[in-house]
Amino acid sequence: MLRTKLLLRAICCGLILIVLGTSELSAQTEIPKNLHINGLGRTLIQRTQLGGTISETDTTTASDLMDGEFLLDLKINATPNEKTEVQSILRLRNEFGGFFGSGMSVEVRELFARGIVGNSFRYHVGDMDLKMTPYTLFQHDAGLNVNEAEIFRARQELIDYEQFYNGDGTRRMQGGKIDFGLSAGAIFSEINISGFFTRVRGTDFFSLPTRFVSGGSIELKNDRWGSITGNYVNTFDAVSIGGFDNGIRNPVQTVSANIHILDNDNMALDFEGEMGMSSIFETQETEPFDKDDTFAEGAFKLDLKPRNLQITLGFRDVGPDFFSIGAQSNRVDLDRSRTFYSRIGNDRTTRQASIFDLNRDRALYTYALSDVLRPYDPRFGNTQPYGRATANRRGVFLNVDYALADSAIELGAEAMQMQEIRGQGTTELKSFTLARVTGDININRWLGIDNILKVNLGYQFEQTQRGGVEIETVSLNSSLLDAGIQAELFDNFDLLAGIKQLTSVGDDYIPEVIRFNEVRDFPGRYIVDDNETMIAAGFRYRFSSMSTLNIQWERFNSSRATDAERAYQIDQIFILYSLYF
């Protein structure tokens, strides 16, 4: 018992030392040459206060919360030989206010081994990040931001790190993968083959069979005209393990292509596309679920090189019954309870997830795959709530990116016009219009000063409409404003400020989905007249590119015209210290 206490005390001391950033660990420790120790130390202390109209009558909710954590992710990487690598991340975490065992946890966050066999065959077993295409295995960014202000990124990066989200569409999984390449002669200069097999769920021996995801791709590459890739992924239940009568199968097979049409000093024109089909069915013999559908996407990408102008014009068609667990599992699960102020008011009503929650609450996020489409909030995104693989959409999209030669201004624009392929509750079809503009203005480059002075702007407008008789009509307009400023007052000392505002007015029907993507009902007309505003200001000191300290204040206001008495305000002050070593 005494030994355990001493061990915990030593761990805590080590954590505190690292968190305080006294020095880099590698400088203190004698480490074998083939053993590397890196990691992350983080301290977060935050105070959150609830106010606003609802607080005038709410006598049951604590108005003031304070919490935080001290955390050390110790990454131990060993290379026993030049072709083998083993890595683990050991996490030590202590809740703010917990001491010597109370509130403390020790866990393995990551564990894998990888290497090369015969200089050509790469393998990886254990935890890994996997990505294929946006229609097969992909994690799209469900966060609600459009060129988010720097001040909001600290919290978002924290969530992304906790949820293994790298921003590149990878999904955290566990299993094994291999890949290798071949030189193939005249037609194809290169053939790349990869495959993986992962387990995403174990059986409980009662109702849930073990679930696996396997897949692979074969890429045929030609240096002159591009590449074509065959992709296959299958999510399936092993009914024999545990003796189950029913399991699912969700194979998705696609062909993607990238064809270089033109490429010279002035411009490049490429065609990128993907098409394929999915099936979803159950193995049980009575009343089995069985659907399949196709999708196709194609886009021309024009790069006017001297002008730093890229234009993409494309077409997308995703069938109503297209279902791909690996691509459509949202990383935001709105059904999850919030970790703070989950219920407010004397009636203890569940508080609706807001832009503040999406930026603060890691509990809303998950990297787990789901065999039912997770619920979505049309205010946050109605055009493609499940990313590019959102089923029942057909339309065109246009992306434009432009940057001045010195990158003083970087502009982006995105427009999308989509329509349902099959109606929901009616033969009338919804149409979706999405327009998004972003801009980064690096004022310091104009002024010719070294210290950063940057303004970033983003605005998104989304419109959903449907005609028909009165019951069928739908009209929902949502807009999102993201704006921020980053001013480096002194060397590495930044003043940060930002605003994020969501307004949503109108109505829609949100389907209640059961069994994969089957619409069971429409609980009622969803009427909104909402306004959510989050403003923030603070300071950041960058000790190095690996170490930062943020001290920020944030205020969030939520008001709903349809429920004015439940308007509320949340004030938050937090200190976040992050050290990557």
């Binding site: 270089h260 068609d317 109503p320 029942n392 509750g425």
Partner: protein, 332 residues
């Protein structure tokens, strides 16, 4: 050239991939789900009178402004029989609202006036109605032992051996019959000889002018015995039904000689009103040869003395429409 061909090929396939199943729509119809309801056409019957015994049918029509759950309740004004037809539609028509004389809740319909009510439960049970007349009740398939509509005469033996049956016992129309106007009613108290037994009747094939009871099939697994039992909800009544086969081959029922069969567990009568019971003859362990020579059906009133208070309460039940069907139980 090759890459342009590849591009063309890819785009062609992409276009091909844009064919989807677009009909019907996903989920429930929004108009049905949230639209305002109106009765656009009131209920009407395709005919004012119907003779089910002549294979006639009647259907009902009505129209609504949207698809909605509806209930058609047909009630016999004399028998109290009830037929329920339900649906989720925008209109009532020959497809979804046809009545062929069957019943949902016993008793069976007679030749009588019937009230036909159209009920919309979701609209505060909005009800509209029409009357029709049944001039010929439905004829059910099967071989009827008896429905007690006629006096069974020598075809029925009444066994009140312990004098425990009351005067209410007998063929009667004092209670609404399960079919027609008459049924057989037992009532008594096991207070003379405390042996569970109260009284019995025996029914012989002679009620139909036969030596052995005729039936659609003598294969026990395919032969279903059906009957209606009436109860008043009291807890101590048990009905026992026994079948006797002509063991000595004399063509008549010989008590103490002819072998008897009965369903294990018998029939506790705890329900209220009429209820249909069915079992196959294989369930009582009878062979095909034995089934082809049934000489008697015996119905006994038993008092469940194990559960009776002291002194015991009276026990009673009614029985009606005893019939054999082939391949399946009697379908009401």
């Amino acid at each position: 050239m090759k890459k342009y061909l590849s591009l063309l090929l890819f785009i062609s396939v992409v276009i091909t991939a844009c064919q989807h199943q677009t009909d019907p729509f996903d989920g429930p119809n929004l108009i049905d789900r949230f639209g305002e309801f109106q009765l656009t056409t009131d209920i009407a019957a395709s005919r004012n009178s119907v003779d089910f015994s002549a294979d006639e049918q009647v259907f009902f029509t009505a129209g609504f402004s949207k698809n909605i759950n509806w209930v058609l309740r047909i009630t016999g004004k004399e028998s109290g029989a009830v037929k329920i037809i339900e649906g989720f539609d925008r209109e009532l028509n020959q497809e979804n609202a046809t009545w062929n004389g069957t019943t949902s809740d016993l008793p069976l319909f007679r030749d009588e006036e019937c009230l036909v009510e159209l009920i919309i439960p979701e609209e505060d049970s909005l009800t509209t109605s029409v009357d029709i007349t049944v001039t010929g009740e439905r004829i059910y398939e099967g071989s009827l032992i008896t429905n007690f509509e006629e006096d069974l005469g020598d075809g029925l033996f009444f066994g009140n051996f312990e004098f425990e049956l009351t005067g209410a016992t007998g063929r009667t129309n004092a209670i609404p019959a399960g079919q027609g106007e008459y049924c057989y009613f037992f009532e008594g108290t096991d207070n003379v000889v405390g042996n569970f037994f109260v009284g019995l009747i025996q029914i012989f094939p002679s009620v139909n002018g036969e030596t052995y009871f005729s039936m659609p099939t003598t294969i026990p697994e395919e032969s279903h015995f059906n009957f209606f039992l009436y109860g008043d909800g009291t807890p101590h009544t048990i009905a026992v039904i026994q079948f006797f086969t002509d063991t000595n081959g004399d063509g008549t029922f010989t008590d103490g000689v002819d072998k008897s069969f009965q369903l294990e567990g018998d029939f506790p009568v705890t329900h209220t009103g009429w209820k249909v019971f069915s079992h196959t003859m294989a369930d009582i362990g009878i062979s095909e040869a034995e089934l082809s020579q049934l000489t008697a059906v015996q119905v006994l009133l038993i008092s469940n003395m194990s559960a009776q208070p002291n002194p015991p309460n009276p026990v009673r039940f009614g029985i009606d429409y005893m019939t054999f069907t082939q391949d399946q139980p009697l379908s009401l």
